[in-house]
Amino acid sequence: MLGYAGKLLEVNLSSRKVKDVKLGDEILKEYVGGRGLAVKILWDRLGDHWETVNPLGSENVLLFLTGPLTGFFPGARTCVSGKSPQSNGVVGSTVAGEFGVELRCAGYDGIIVTGKAEKPVYLFVKDSDVEIRSAAHVWGKDAKQTMTLLTRECRGLLKKRFPRYGEWKEPAMLYIGPAGENLVRTAVVAAKWTHAAGYGGYGAVMGSKKLKAVVVKGTGPLPEAADMEKVKQLTQVVCDKIYKNELWRRWGTASAGYEVGAKTSSEPVRNWQEEWHNRKSYTVDKFENRFWVKHYWGDFGCPTTCLKIAVIKNGRFKGAITDNPDYELQAYLGTNLGIFTPEENVFLASLIDDLGLCGIQTGNTLGFVAELFQRGILTREDLDGLEPEWGNIEAFAALTKKIAFREGIGDLLAEGTYRAALKIGERKKVDVLRYAVQCKGIGVGAHGIRSGKDYPINISYACSVQGGDHTSVACFPLDDFRSELVMIFNDSAVYCYFNTFGIPRDIKFEFYKAVTGVNLTEEEWVNTKALRILQLQRAMLLLGGPDLRWNPKIHDDNPSRFYEPLPSGPYKGKTVDKTKFEKDKKRYYEAVGWDENGVPRSETLKKLGLDDVDKALEKIRQVNFSLS
C-alpha cells in the first residue's frame, strides 16, 4: 500500500531470531498504524489469554510503530505500545524524534519485539541488516551516557563497514535509563535525552526484556506517496498556519506553568489539594531569560519547535539540562510538589530525564507521598529518613533516585501511585486511595476538571481507555476535537497533534489520502475505524490482569480529590458534581455502545466485526461485576 514501507521487523529476543512480517492492505486500511495497529497486533497475539499475560514477563509483546504520515505530516513521532504495566490494558504512547523516519527509511513500518534476552542487549538496525548486540557496557548508564556511547559505537560500526561513504550522521535511538532496567512502572522509552513515550510504562517493558536501546539508520527514502505534489501543498498549508502562531512557537507549553494555575485554575498544586496559584516567580519569562540556550528546538519536519533547551550554568544545580521544562513537567515536578523556583524545577526535570523516568507519573507519585507525609500517614521512618515537605527539593530528588533504583521506600513507590497506594493502605490500615490522583493505574495529566475552564470534562479521564492520559480523553460529542476517537487518528497515522492546532480538521484526512491514495472521512473514522480501535482497547483494559483488574462500577470514576471543592482561586468552591458525572457517564457508555456496566455490548462488537472480542468479554458480562 502506498505510504507504507510494507513490512514490520519482528525480533524474538529469546531465540535471537529475526524475521519480516507483512500486513495485508485490509488491516492497514482498518487500523492505519501506530496505536490502531498496536491494538490489533496485541489482540491477535495475546487477546485469547490477555488476563494471564504479565506485562513485565517475556510473553509481553513490545511494539515500536510508525504510521503512514510519519515523516510526511509535519512533526514526526513513533508510537510505543504493548500490554501496559500501569493499566494492564494497552496505551498508544508516542515519542517525538527521527526514530520513526529512520525506521521507515530503513524499510520498516515498525518493530515487534517478543521474548526476553538473557543478558542486556540493544538492537542495531541498518536498513535490512539487523543485529542483536551486547549492551553490557551501557546497562546502568543514564540517558546522556547511553546516547553518547551508543551514538559513538554505531557511527564507528557504520564507518568501518562503509569506509567510502563519508561522514555518517547519527542513527536515531530509543533507549531506557536505569528506571526501565529496574522495572519501575513509571519508566519511559526515551529519545534525545528529554523526549519520552511516557504513558503506559513501556520503559519497564523494555527493561523486562533486557533491551537497553533500539538504534536505527535507514538510508532509503520515505515510502512513496500517492500524490507528492499534494503532500507538499498540504504541508505548506499546515506550516503557514503554524508559523503565524508566534507565541505558541516561542513558548511552547512553558507559559502554562503559570497560566493554567493562575487563569484556568486547573494545575496540580500540592498533589491537587489546590489547582490555583499565581506565583510570579514561576512564569515563562523566568525560564526563558535564565535558562534557555536554544529557543526553538524541534524534531523532523516540525514547524512549531515547541521545545527549548534549558541549561543551568551556575549555582547549586549547575550542569542540569532539560527541555523547557514543558507545562506537564513544570506542573508535576514543580507546583504539584510545592516547588515554585524555576531552578529547582529544571534540576528535577533533568534528573528525571537522566534516570529515564516519566515526569508526569513520577511527579504524581512524589506528590502523593508528600501528602501522606503532610498528613502523618507516612513518617520519616517510613521514608528512609527523608522528609518530603512541600518544596523540599533535596527530599524529592532523593526519592526520585530511590524510585529509579528501587532502593528502600523507592521499591514500593516504583510501582506507581495506584499500586503503592494499595500497599500503603494495607500496611497503615488507612484509606490512602483517596489521595491517589489517578485513573486505571495512570496518574492524571496536569489538566484538572474542577474549574471547568480547561479542555478535559467530567468524564474525560474516568471513561478514557488510556486512563489518566491527558492526550487521549473521553469527550462529547464523539467527534469533538478533544475526543479520543478523534485523537486516535493522530497516534495511528503517527505525527505530532500539536501541529494540528488551528488547522482545518479535514486536512489530516486529505493528507492521509495524498500519502496512501485512500479516501477517508472524519465521520467514517470516528464511527467505524476509531470506534473499533476503542472497543479493542476497552476490552483489553477490562480483561486486565494478572495483578489487577478494573471494575467499571468502581474504576470508571474520577479520583476522589476531584469531588472535593477547589479551596482557592477564582473558581473556589467549584467541584465535579457526582450526580451529573454519573448521568454523563451513562450517556457516554450509550454513545460508544457499552452496556450499563461499561462493557462493550454484543451488538456493538458484532457490528464492527469484532465477534471474537464479544466472545472474550462473555466471561466479564457473566460475572457482571457483582463485586460492587
Binding site: C105, R164, Y165, E167, T219, C239, K294, C302, P303, K318
Partner: protein, 175 residues
Amino acid sequence: MTARKKRIWIARDPSKCSGCRKCEIACSLFHEKRVWPEASRIRVFMLVPGVEVPHFCVQCEDYPCVEACPVNALSVSSETGAVLVDEGKCTGCGMCIKACPGKIPHLHPTKNYILICDLCGGDPQCVKACQEGGWNALKIVSRKDYAYEVYARTPEEITKDLAVKFYGEKGKELV
C-alpha cells in the same frame, strides 16, 4: 568580476538550527523528488541532542575536492561557483571527501556517486525552508572575498564547540 558579484553564499549559524530538518526535506525533494534525508546534500548532524549542525559545502576558494578528483568528475559552476558532480564520471572513490577539510561530501546512499551541494543552481531550497520558519540558521548573502573555507569543519569539531557553548566545559565529552 561581474559574474562573481552575483554569486551567493549560504551563511550558516548552527546555534540557531532548530533541528527541524526541513532543509533536508526540501533538498531531497528538489534533487531526488522524494523525502530522503540520507540523499540530501545538506545534512543535519545531531551527535549531541540540542546541538544540530547543518553540514554542507562552503565553496572553498581553492576547491580542494575538485583538485583531488582523479577522474575529473567535479567542476566549478561558472555561474554559481558551486561544485558540480558529473554523475556519469564519478566512481565514488571518496578522494574528494578526504580532500575536504570538513569531510562534507558523502556518497549517494543507493547510487555510486558523490553528493555535494550545487546551490540548486542559484536558488537554494534549504534556505527557503529555513527562512520560512524564521530560524535564520541558513541565510543567503552575496559572496565576497571572505575566507569561507574556515566553515568547512567536521561535524565532530563543530559539535564540540557548540556543546561547550551550550552545556559548559564538559559538553565536549558528550560527543
